[in-house]
């Protein structure tokens, strides 16, 4: 099997090999999801710094990071819908991942409102807790996603 693949590869150009095997590169929505997760994780870091300082600059970083994460999540949703509607061959929705991510985004939306409060209580304690919870949910989701992807497939 492995030998056959190599043989094939020697005769077919890279591009056509990929196009027959799976869509080119990662789907756009996956990239956007990664961006939003990074923004949300960044907000936890700036929240922690604010909690320790408390210098308003860090609270501002946090709310912009949460807002940027939400915008990325919105764009990811749009990209996902376009991918689905366009009939592009993408991974079958993995529900634990979708639910986990949607939950993290919902928490972040609430977090954006909390972070829009004025003064210290925009972060401590509720905002900080929400930022932490979002990161935990995202990590769990990623872990579940990986575990599911690696599980031996029954019936091929």
């Amino acid at each position: 099997m492995k030998h056959a693949t190599i043989t094939e590869a020697t005769f077919i150009g890279d591009a056509s090999l990929r196009s027959t095997a799976k869509p080119r590169g990662r789907p756009l929505h996956r990239i956007l999801v990664s961006f939003s997760a990074a923004y949300f994780a960044g907000a936890l870091v700036t929240d922690l710094v604010y909690w320790q300082t408390p210098d308003v600059l860090w609270e501002r970083f946090s709310i912009w990071l949460v807002a940027a994460g939400l915008i990325m999540a919105g764009l990811a949703t749009i990209a996902y819908v376009i991918d689905l509607a366009g009939g592009r061959q993408i991974d079958r929705p993995s529900w634990p991942r979708v639910v986990g991510y949607a939950f993290a985004v919902l928490l972040s939306l609430i977090n954006a409102f909390v972070h829009s409060r004025d003064g210290y209580t925009a972060v401590v304690p509720t905002g900080l807790m929400l930022s932490g919870l979002v990161v935990v949910v995202l990590l769990l989701t990623a872990w579940v996603g990986m575990a599911l992807a690696n599980r031996p497939r029954v019936g091929g």
Binding site: V56, E59, I63, I110, S116, D118, G119, T121, V124, L140
Partner: protein, 455 residues
């Protein structure tokens, strides 16, 4: 592996779900709570509920309707009201010169910077409420020599100002409190226009944030000092305590040198200053903080003690702590003075005038008129009227009475919003209306003398 995972999920998800429902519930629960009867928060001992914090701060603004032809606000019994002049651009305050000429300050705040996503939303809401209307940054003069409430002369008195608000005349020196400086202009009696360049007396805390931009101004009776109300640079310190340097305070400025000291501090936004006629003490109106409930914190009218600290941002009404400010200052809070007289929450007092005239009925003498611009974050709406606080022995002596109402109609549309007040030479009460773009004049209802409509 799968079993462990499923177990982890089955434990984790319900807990998270409960948490999220609880948090969402917290937000929703606070959405429909309306403010109580404002009368419980008027006077020396306002009822102060527990503070609340919101997911979605309540925003409730009155849609702008403007005044139709011959429409006016409603004056209390025994009084009449008519438009002294119309067609202004965002008139914020009025000042009466010794010869009876009326100065109308047409002004609006500088453009607010966007520090947080919230500021984009706030800007949009304010636009809707008419707060971002075009402003002229000028002072218009009205002259009514016959005293019949119909000015014969209207001129541009001073132009090209920078968000002016307070005006004070001492001798032949006319002081204008721009948002960033007090500027002195030479004034001759009867002058209808000033073209001379101003001289800066002192800088005032201005941009780049300039959250509360109005600078109220009052000269001492002997003319040696100027008192300036300088508002805070935030709702509750969210722009950093460094941005509050010498703000939320009443300044005492030496007129000769321009040097200043902080006369009183911890007053979030002192938008109007007056001398109480009986005792000669300084009184101020102030706008208190937002976003901790429809009935917190009541705006107030208070005497101002030299060196006094009135709480902001650390506490309100004495020692009621505000958790939104960190680090806290228990040393300052211990000294915080509770204001004398609450006007109820979010009414936004922006003008005050102690009545020293004689035209209005005797019960108004010696008391304070307060122009309440009206709430934007409270349901039901509060303010949107001019009230009168009776005084006796130099202290408020009873509940506030409605003097001019009808700025809001039954659909809660704002025809106008009262701002600055002044007493004119014949004892009438002048009201700047920055949404109706009118200056109103209230006088005694005298039989057989219907007021002529403004041209």
């Amino acid at each position: 592996m799968i079993h462990a995972l499923k177990a982890a999920r089955s434990k984790m998800l319900p807990r998270l779900a409960v948490l999220v429902v609880a948090i969402a519930g917290l937000g929703l629960a606070s959405c429909d709570d309306n403010g109580g009867d404002p009368r419980r928060q008027i006077g020396a001992n306002p009822v102060l509920p527990e503070l609340q914090q919101y997911l979605m701060p309540p925003i409730r603004i009155a849609k702008v309707a403007g005044w139709g032809k011959d429409e006016t606000p409603t004056a209390a019994q025994g009084l009449q009201i008519h438009a002294l002049a119309t067609g202004f651009e965002h008139p914020r305050s009025v000042y009466v010169l010794p010869n009876g000429d009326v100065l109308v300050v047409e002004s609006n705040g500088p453009k607010a910077p966007i520090s947080r996503p919230k500021d984009i939303i706030t800007g949009w809401v304010q636009q809707f409420a008419g707060a971002k209307a075009k402003d002229a940054n000028r002072i218009t003069l009205l002259r009514d020599t016959k005293g019949d409430g119909v000015p014969e002369l209207r001129t541009v008195f001073l132009d090209h100002l920078n968000s002016p608000f307070g005006v004070a005349l001492v001798g032949h020196d006319l002081y204008v409190a721009n948002t960033d400086a007090i500027v002195r202009y030479p004034y001759q009696d009867g002058q209808t226009s000033i073209t001379a360049a101003g001289t800066k007396l002192t800088d005032l805390p201005g941009g780049p944030i300039d959250h509360h931009w109005t600078k109220s101004l009052l000269a001492s009776p002997d003319g040696s000092k100027l008192y300036v109300g300088v508002g805070s640079n935030s709702n509750i310190g969210e722009n950093g305590i460094g941005a509050e340097y010498e703000r939320a305070a009443i300044w005492e400025v030496d007129r000769a040198s321009g040097a200043h000291r902080i006369f009183a501090s911890g007053i979030r936004n002192p938008t109007g200053l007056q001398w109480e006629p009986e005792t000669g003490k300084l009184w101020a109106i102030a706008n208190e903080r937002d976003e901790i409930g429809p009935d917190l914190v009541p705006d107030y009218l208070t005497s101002v003690r030299d060196g006094g600290f009135y709480g902001w941002p650390y506490s309100y009404y004495g020692q009621h702590l505000d958790p939104r400010i960190m680090p806290q200052r228990p040393d300052l809070v211990a000294t915080a003075i509770a204001p004398d007289y609450a006007l109820s929450s979010h009414v936004a007092p922006l003008g005050v005038a102690m009545y020293t005239g004689t035209d209005l009925p005797a019960n108004y003498r010696g008391g304070a008129f307060v122009g309440e611009h009206g709430s934007w974050d409270r349901t039901p709406l509060n303010g949107y009227k001019v009230v009168f606080v009776p005084f006796s022995g130099g202290r408020p002596s009873g509940p506030a009475q409605d003097v001019v109402t009808g700025f809001l109609d039954e659909n809660n549309h704002a025809h106008g919003r009262p701002v600055g007040l002044a007493i004119d030479r014949s004892g009438g009460l002048l009201i700047a209306d920055d949404v109706g773009n009118t200056v109103w004049r209230v006088s005694s209802l005298k039989p057989g003398s219907p007021p002529k409509p403004a041209s």
